[in-house]
């Protein structure tokens, strides 16, 4: 979606949740689901519409790890850092992945293809280590398997 369309997305989200009690999180989810992040200009519009200050809305966005204030890459790899995954070698997988992508967590590759994010438990603790690639879970992942996934993503166009 083009960035100029963000106003439509935001007004649709606001309209949908105009009667939702405590509806700020649902509004923010709608916006991020559509755009991949919450544009800084949207913060003002949302705040005015629900009668809360820009600071308050910003405070909510920044409190939660899930919300992004920057446009992510075409693909998002979320890697679990939690204990069960660590017990099965997640740290090594993460190190190799960072080296392969040449980025750290919360960064996007220079070609804009892949964003890498840490995540704290996907609930696949009995088949660790686990990652989620564009929302699809992958369990019992090895460094080799991860390399293969990255190679595939690099040639793949995300239709989402």
């Amino acid at each position: 979606m083009e960035s100029t369309d963000y106003e439509d997305v935001v007004s649709a989200a606001l309209e949908k949740h105009s009667n939702t009690e405590g509806g700020l999180l649902p509004i923010l989810h709608e916006v991020q689901d559509a755009l991949g992040y919450i544009p800084s200009d949207a913060v003002d519009i949302i705040g005015k519409s629900i009668n809360r200050s820009r600071a308050e809305v910003h405070g909510v966005i920044s409190f939660y790890h899930h919300f992004r204030n920057h446009k992510p890459g075409e693909h998002i790899i979320q890697v679990c850092r939690s204990e069960a995954c660590q017990a099965m070698g997640a740290n090594l997988v993460i190190e190799n992945l960072k080296n392969k992508l040449e980025i750290d967590f919360h960064e996007t590759t220079s070609d804009g293809k892949i964003t890498l994010e840490p995540i704290y438990c996907l609930g696949h603790c009995a088949c660790a280590p686990a990652v989620m690639v564009d929302g699809v879970p992958k369990a019992k992942i090895s460094s080799d398997a991860m390399d293969g996934i990255v190679d595939e993503l690099r040639v793949l166009k995300n239709d989402n």
Binding site: G22, L25, G59, Y64, E83, A87, G123, C125, A126, K140
Partner: protein, 519 residues
């Protein structure tokens, strides 16, 4: 003749390839004109066997474990012959000892049924608890739950009946039922499996709770890390509404109740009940001081029942079979069963529902089969990131809230993370502090500042800087966090840290040890 087969849609199974297997099965079946009906069931919890493909036969459902897309052609063309696919055949699924030796009350249907088929749910004993509740007044429901001895399965183990009674006794026009589905503890996935594999059980449990306290509105606060659970649970809500199990005048009675799913946003602290309520109100998830209790002044200031997924999904059995049927399981004040999750470095990882009283040894070796790596198990962490590390010498501990508390440990949400001998406990202790720093809501100083200072101090110990002085400092800091924090995050992170130092001082080079001499 149509062959009915089951391939799980549980997200761990998907992570291991079940979606690909299901696609491949229908493709191959179509290509040879074989009549196959695929049911996407939940998982049985035998995660180490996933994808576990089951086939309905005259003698019962037989299984094929760890099915790969490469196996599918032979499987389908042989019409799922156990002889042809001998290597992957596991025989009758209900006879697998891992499953047969469990006491499944909460998880009786998981993996058996199609999670979004309400007919399947009813055929397999669903809504019997609700039927009983429809005949009872609120007070009687609360009394039955109190009598059962059910305690909160989220971690705090507070008696559920007492909580419900407080809400029932409050006078208010609006009361709420809130289900805490922010299952953030590493090593736990029983909530996820319930929502993905048997969502109607949770809906039934929440509805009974609503009847018990005169609540009309419920929220499921679901973590954003569980997108598959969100899809399935939302679908189940639609079906339940459509069939009159939610909404106005439930089942033709006088009571009304509905549930809204709210997606969380990746903050571990929002699993703490007051922080969760703030988040539901559209705010930062800052912990509230207690009192007032959420039961008296909870969501939007109204009396609110906040319970975990497993607490609610334990309730239908109790209403259907009576308090004493539930109480017959368990030991001491830990009545009933606990869905235990075997995770991390374990050969047979998965879900084991057992009555309280089972020992760690039984779970880790009889069920779990030892470590996945084949190396000796060195320690387990129970109860998530805030749980103590338990050394091997204590593996004879019985799972019971009081026994664990006496040993300085906790059962929490029943997740057991297993580590083999390659684990470095100093780095696990550091991770505990790092995690606390990352997830602290920032409201109270011991947690907000203490976690960062703790991380720095453990770094100093690891690098050998004034090791013994810094170890003393950590102890004092942990004492401050333990007693001075507002909630369990800052208040319990000392458990993994101090238990790591206490049981594994050699990893911190705090005792004369080969590695220290070498250094």
């Amino acid at each position: 003749m149509t062959t009915k087969i089951y391939i799980p849609r549980d997200s761990s199974a998907i992570g291991l390839g079940s979606d690909l297997v299901a696609d491949q099965v229908s493709r191959v079946a179509r290509s040879i004109n074989q009549d196959v009906e695929i049911v996407r069931n939940g998982s049985r919890g035998l995660i180490w066997m996933e994808p576990l493909l089951e086939v309905e036969t005259e003698s019962g459902r037989t299984g094929f474990a760890n099915v790969d897309t490469a196996d599918v052609e032979d499987l389908v063309k042989s019409n799922f012959s156990e002889t042809v696919m001998h290597a992957k055949s596991v025989g009758l699924v209900n006879e697998i000892p891992y499953l047969k030796n469990q006491e499944r009350l909460c998880f009786a249907r998981n993996g058996v049924t199609d999670p979004i088929s309400i007919e399947d749910y009813i055929e397999n004993g669903g809504f019997k608890g609700l039927s009983s509740a429809l005949e009872l007044d609120a007070r009687s429901i609360v009394d039955i739950v109190t009598e059962s001895g059910l305690r909160g399965r989220g971690g705090a183990a507070f008696p559920t009946g007492i909580k419900w009674n407080t809400v029932l006794n409050c006078q208010s026009d609006q009361k709420y039922i809130v289900c805490n589905a922010d299952e953030g503890d590493s090593g736990t996935f029983s909530d996820r499996m319930t929502m993905e594999g048997d969502p109607f059980a949770l809906i039934e449990g929440m509805t009974i709770a609503a009847f018990a306290v005169h609540a009309t509105k419920g929220y499921l606060y679901l973590r954003s890390e569980y997108p598959h659970a969100e899809v399935i649970f939302n679908k189940a809500l639609e079906v339940a509404r459509d069939k009159g199990y939610l909404g106005e005048n439930i089942r033709g009675g006088e009571r009304s109740f509905d549930i809204e799913l709210r997606r969380a946003a990746g903050a571990y602290i929002c699993g703490e009940e007051t922080s969760l309520l703030e988040s539901l109100e559209g705010k930062r998830g800052l912990v509230r001081a207690k009192p007032p209790l959420p039961a008296i002044s909870g969501l939007f200031g109204q009396p609110t029942v906040v319970n975990n997924v497993i607490t609610f999904s334990s309730v239908p059995f109790i209403l259907a079979n009576g308090a004493s049927a539930y109480k017959n399981y368990g030991m001491g004040r830990s009545t009933g069963t606990l869905p235990i999750q075997l995770a991390g470095n374990i050969k047979r990882g998965g879900l084991v529902e057992k009555a309280f009283g089972v020992t760690l040894n039984e779970l880790l070796y009889d069920f779990g089969g030892g470590s996945a790596s084949g190396r000796p198990i060195r320690t387990v962490q129970i109860g998530g990131p805030l749980g103590a590390y338990i050394p091997e010498k204590d593996f004879d501990l019985k799972l019971d809230y009081e026994t664990f508390a006496a040993a300085g440990a906790m059962i929490g949400h029943g997740g057991i993370v297993v580590y083999d001998e390659t684990v470095n406990m100093a780095s696990m202790a550091r991770f505990a502090m790092e995690f606390c720093a990352l997830e602290s809501c920032g409201k109270c100083t011991p947690c907000r500042i203490g976690s960062t200072r703790g991380m720095e101090t453990i770094d100093k110990i690891i690098s050998g800087e004034n090791r013994f002085e810094n170890a003393e400092l950590i102890e004092t800091l942990c004492d401050t966090m333990l007693h001075g924090s507002l909630c369990a995050l800052g208040g319990m992170i000392p458990y993994p840290v101090m238990s790591a130092i206490k049981h594994f001082p050699e990893d911190f080079c705090l005792e004369p040890h080969a590695t220290m001499v070498a250094a």
